[in-house]
Each structure stands twice: as structure tokens, then as C-alpha cells.
Amino acid sequence: MDDKHAHDIKKHLKVYIGVFVALLVGTIVTVAVSRVNLGHAGNISLALVIAVLKAALVAGFFMHLVSEKKPIYTILVFTAFFFVGLMALTIWAMNDSPEQTTTTGQAPPAHAAPAHHVP
């Protein structure tokens, strides 16, 4: 391993520590804001935003995505696209039904069901 390389790695180590600290802070922040009432949508969005940021840190630095090669990016871009397609189209489909479609069935109280598998 040549010196330049070793030097690079040493620089990376600092970054790793920084990311680590940021992740811990992010975790604490997530828990903290979940205690604050920002409305249902607000809490969910904020938590997801923080999660995405944390995930980006892990992927970007621990997994070296920031300096990865092009074929990897290509693969991941398609994956992300299909994932979004799966999620978005499914949700869309579930919410677009013929007019006057309704749901049936009554909700049981939360813990009414027995714990074991009856059938």
C-alpha cells in the first residue's frame, strides 16, 4: 500500500467519525421530535426526512457511494425508480376505484383477536 493511499485513508477516518457522530445525533433528534406534536403528517414527514438523511450518510460514506463507479450508479438509479414505481402505483391503484366503491366489514376492537392461530 503506497503512502498516498494511506494518507487518503487516514483522511477518511476523520470523515467516518464525523458521520458516526452525526448518526447518533440524528437518532436522538428523531426520538426527541417524535415527542413533540407536529400533527400526524408533520411527525411522519420529519421522521422520514431524518431517516433519509441518516441513510444517505451511511450509503454515501460508509458504503462509499459518493465516490462509486458509474455502473453502480446506473444499477441503483433503476432500482430506485422501480421501487418508487411499485410503491406509488400500488398506492394509486388502491385509491382509484369505480365511483361508489366502499369498504365492508366492521373493525374489531384492537385486541379482540385471540393470540393463537385458530384455523
Partner: protein, 268 residues
């Protein structure tokens, strides 16, 4: 409708079954158009194909030509296919679906029924002569031991007392839209009456409307189009299309019978 070219094309060439609903005409028309497109493409390509393999067989054409076809005929053909598909899509399939499938008529102007599919029969709930659907309660359905899968609350809901529930033998008046709210009780079934050109999955947990306007009196098979268990093949019902007068009579009689049968019994 016999003996016209239209009839010949649809029923003799394409083997479409008997048609007895209003929107079915459009379904059949679109089926014809699509098949015409397919036929043109298929026959055209097949003729070309047979000619090409005949003309360029090795014994006749020992030295192959490196370049082959020049020019852009193929682009025109591909473009043409795309255009025709777009026309069929935008001009027919989408607007017809919007009109016929996802926009049911109002309950007032139609014969409204609730259709409940369960292993392995078809059940229908009619509002009765008062025209108001009685309340349904699943607990009652369960308590009925299967005799009333809808659980019509005759004891508590005055609108329910005249309601009619039938199994496997549906009756509807001719020339008036039938609005059916389809649901399943146990597994997914599919409410299909081929002569009416309707098919709607009966999904447990969802109540989905489907509708059609019968144009011919007569009896038609109701079939189940979704695998629903070992007697799926045997899950058949009959849709009887009758005149309005006959229907009213039938409904009144059924309603009377229902009152009598359930009067003394209370569900409390």
C-alpha cells in the same frame, strides 16, 4: 340482428356469445376493431414471411446479400401500429371504461342489488317494494347460520322488513339499468354474466359497483370467473330478465314471503 355482416363477423367469425346488454354493443365493437387490426397485421406479415422464406431459400438464392433491405418501410409499419393502437386506446377503451365501468348510474334510475359471492353460490339483496335497502349486519349473518348471508336487520330496521334476499336465482326488469354492488364473503370470486358483457371481481372487504342494461328478456347464466375453491366450476346462478310488470310482481311476492317467514322471529 341476424344476417347482417356485423352479426356474421361477431358471432360467426369471432364466436362472441349472445349479446343482451346495451353497453355490450360497444364491447363487441371494440373487440371487432382490435381483431381487425390484428388480422391485418397477421395476414400481412404472414404473406410476407412465407414469400420471403420461399424466395430466399438456399437452393434458389445461394449467395446472401450483406445489406438486405434498405429504406424505412418498417418504421412506417411500426409507426402505423402505434397510431392505430393509440386511436383504439384514446378513442374507445378509455372513454368507454370511464363511462361504462367506473361511472355507475344513480341508484334511483336503476334496479339496485347487492351481490354477495360465497363458496359456492350467488346471493342478491333487493330493497323490496319500498326501494330502500335495509341495514346489513354481519353479526346477524353469522347468527343466521348461513340462511341469510347478508344479515339483513329485519328486526330493527323498518326499511329492511320488505327486503328480498335470493340465492342463485336473480330476477331483473328489462331495459332498465341493473346496478349491482358486488362483494365477496370468504374468498375472491368474480361476478360474470357473459351475455351481458359484465365481469367484476367480488373482493372480500370491498363493495364495488358494476352495472348493465339488459335488452332481452330471457334467462342467462351467472358464472364465477375467479378460481375460488374446489367447486369454483359449479358456482353458477341464473339471471332472469323479465318485463317491469313481471318484476314488480315477483318482488312483491318475495317481499311478502320474507315478511311472513321472519315476522315471529326476533334477533335480540
Amino acid at each position: 340482428m341476424t344476417n347482417t355482416f356485423d352479426y356474421w363477423f361477431k358471432h360467426k367469425l369471432l364466436d362472441l356469445p349472445y349479446l343482451a346488454s346495451r353497453h355490450g354493443e360497444h364491447v363487441d365493437d371494440l373487440i371487432v376493431y382490435v381483431h381487425a387490426l390484428m388480422a391485418v397485421l397477421f395476414v400481412g406479415w404472414l404473406a410476407y414471411f412465407l414469400y420471403a422464406i420461399f424466395r430466399f431459400r438456399k437452393s434458389k438464392h445461394p449467395k446472401a446479400d450483406y445489406v438486405g433491405v434498405k429504406g424505412h418501410v418498417s418504421n412506417w409499419i411500426e409507426g402505423g401500429v402505434a397510431v392505430v393502437e393509440a386511436i383504439l386506446l384514446i378513442g374507445f377503451a378509455v372513454p368507454l371504461w370511464a363511462k361504462v365501468v367506473t361511472k355507475p348510474p344513480s341508484e334511483k334510475e336503476s334496479t339496485m342489488i347487492h351481490v354477495l359471492a360465497k363458496q359456492f353460490n350467488w346471493n342478491a339483496h333487493y330493497a323490496g317494494p319500498d326501494g330502500i335497502m335495509g341495514r346489513q349486519d354481519q353479526a346477524l349473518a353469522a347468527a343466521s347460520g348461513g340462511s341469510d348471508p347478508f344479515g339483513v336487520d329485519r328486526a330493527n330496521d323498518p326499511n329492511a322488513r320488505d327486503d328480498v334476499v335470493v340465492m342463485d336465482n336473480f330476477v331483473v326488469p328489462v331495459n332498465k339499468p341493473v346496478l349491482a354492488y358486488v362483494t365477496g364473503l370468504d374468498v375472491i370470486h368474480s361476478f360474470a354474466i357473459r351475455s351481458m358483457r359484465v365481469c367484476q371481481d367480488a373482493v372480500p372487504g370491498l363493495r364495488i359497483p358494476t352495472w348493465f342494461t339488459p335488452t332481452q328478456e330471457g334467462e342467462y347464466k351467472i358464472t364465477c370467473a375467479q378460481l375460488c375453491g374446489n367447486s369454483h366450476y359449479h358456482m353458477s346462478g341464473i339471471l332472469k330478465v323479465v318485463s317491469q310488470a313481471e318484476f314488480d310482481k315477483w318482488l312483491a311476492a318475495g317481499s311478502e314471503k320474507a315478511r311472513k317467514n321472519t315476522a315471529p322471529k326476533s334477533y335480540e
